[in-house]
Subunit: 309 residues, 2 copies
């Protein structure tokens, strides 16, 4: 199941609410919009631009007893960048909307958060081009990122095909294990797999998603959008993590990808040439969308869906 | 001055905090970033893209006793779009990060907000291309907008020159008057002056800013960035509004612009040809940055600066 996170309840699932929001917006949402990790915006004379927004809310996504303000800023930018990674996009810039509690102090919290944002900006090569700061009852960091597929096609969630290999860029569960143990690098300073995502795109990956809510849940989402099933043999578990944490812990930001068998060799070579760790093969895509198994047993939608309302 | 808004206090001014955040980010912020209403992002093979983010926080920027959830969504998108208007940019798309309180209910608040976002999207021609929804202790709507100057130069705040005419697109104070009276269209459903901004850019306006925090404060900001002063004769006051509300009320989203005398005729013609109301001339830019007067008296920095921390 994955370790519960602060503020976790189960009224209306995030996926269900997003479905209903899609209905509200009607034709306003493009085919790609809200269905993939990022949206694709056509820019006159340029583009396509790959864009995404991601929020970190204190007490919901992050525990301020375990994270410094700079950790929160780092996590916010990296979490948003992970959505670009999952599309195989290179970041061009970020906008940061910061809400900080209004009681006492002098903006030190805001500045601490922005220091972590600046560190993640340096580590990822994504400049912060603008932002907005507001007083609020709770700390919220909403980060919008914009990127480019450098003339290629962004990789969505819907392209997985029968017979594709299912790969993951690294062991999962490290972030959840860190949270359980009261901190730890994987929880406080996750890293978006930007270079891995770009390498997978170049090698022709059919579909990708990042492990933001849990390997199992995110793989189900990819399979849902692709209209396929999957058969997994095993999954790599991070050091110190449990199997449940690997499947349902989330915030690992490893990438899960569906790759055609004929492209596997080129993909592995591409990763190696770029100095990247070779991804793990964890299973195979099957045509029957009702088949979702790990080691012979049905795989539940393990992961984190915070409730709304 | 202007009517106080909920949650308004004065610890650390927003402008001061933004200055310090600039310091934190160091070279990460471009010359345009955070100094204008929107940032400019160079897109390979395209662009420049004009981008901005703006947050609406319940209890700080908006009073839920006076606004429906749909009003909040409308105000959030229009407020963000006003920053594009102030750069003379045409919107291409928006991303919405929504945080909604987690206690009780079933997401109806989120859906209500998104209905207002959808209405503003339709009214402005700006599609919502993606978003993110989170549980939080407070309602926050952070909207990122992306736009284009259609091959032209986006208009910043820094270009005002000695002798320029100072114009405003309409009477101010209507939003503050609406708030004082417990609602009203100008408060609940402000409209971004997108067509006016584009017409002013085409006519060669030297500098622009939108009236988001107060005509006086926003004009001071434009003058600060341009290193100039101004001499105003009078300002147009919205029906039912007081002079203080016109100067310090904010959220009117009228545009203030500095336009060279030789371009004034073409600008007025351009507005008329586009079916737009002719802007009011309220004064003149002067070289001495220490001169900031209205009707012969020094004009204070009237407007809304919410405090942080």
């Amino acid at each position: 199941m994955g370790s519960p996170k602060p503020g976790r309840t189960r009224h209306l699932g995030e996926d269900e609410l997003i479905e209903r929001i899609r209905g509200t917006l009607g034709g306003g949402i493009g085919a790609f919009g809200l269905r993939d990790d990022a949206a694709v915006l056509e820019v006159p004379g340029g583009g396509p631009l790959v864009v995404s927004v991601d929020s970190v809310v204190a007490g919901v996504h992050v525990d301020l007893a375990l994270c410094s303000p700079a950790d929160v800023g780092w996590k916010a930018l990296m979490g948003a960048l992970s959505d670009l990674a999952a599309m195989g996009a290179r970041p061009l810039g970020a906008l940061v909307a910061l809400c900080v509690p209004g009681a006492g102090g002098d903006g030190e919290l805001a500045l601490g958060v922005m220091e972590g944002v600046a560190e993640a900006s340096g580590a990822s090569g994504c400049p912060v081009v603008g932002g907005d700061v507001s007083a609020a009852g709770v700390l919220v960091v909403a980060v919008t990122v914009m990127g480019t597929a450098d003339g290629g096609e962004p990789v969505g969630r819907a392209g997985a095909r029968d017979g594709d290999a299912v790969l993951v860029t690294g062991p999962c569960g490290g972030s959840a294990a860190g949270l359980r143990k009261g901190g730890g690098e994987a929880y406080r300073r996750p890293v978006a797999r930007l270079r891995e995502g770009a390498a997978a795109r170049v090698a022709g990956a059919h579909a990708m998603i990042d492990v933001s809510d849990g390997l199992a849940l995110d793989l189900h989402r990819l399979a849902d959008e692709s209209g396929v099933g999957f058969v997994l043999e095993s999954v790599p578990v991070a050091e110190d993590a449990t199997r449940d944490e690997a499947l349902g812990g989330g915030e690992d930001y490893e990438l899960v990808m569906a790759v055609g068998e004929p492209d596997l060799g080129a993909l592995m070579d591409g990763f190696e040439a770029a100095g990247l760790r070779r991804p793990w093969r964890i299973g195979t895509v099957v045509a029957d969308a009702g088949v979702r198994v790990l080691a012979g047993e049905e795989l539940g939608r393990l992961g984190w869906q915070h409730s709304i309302g």
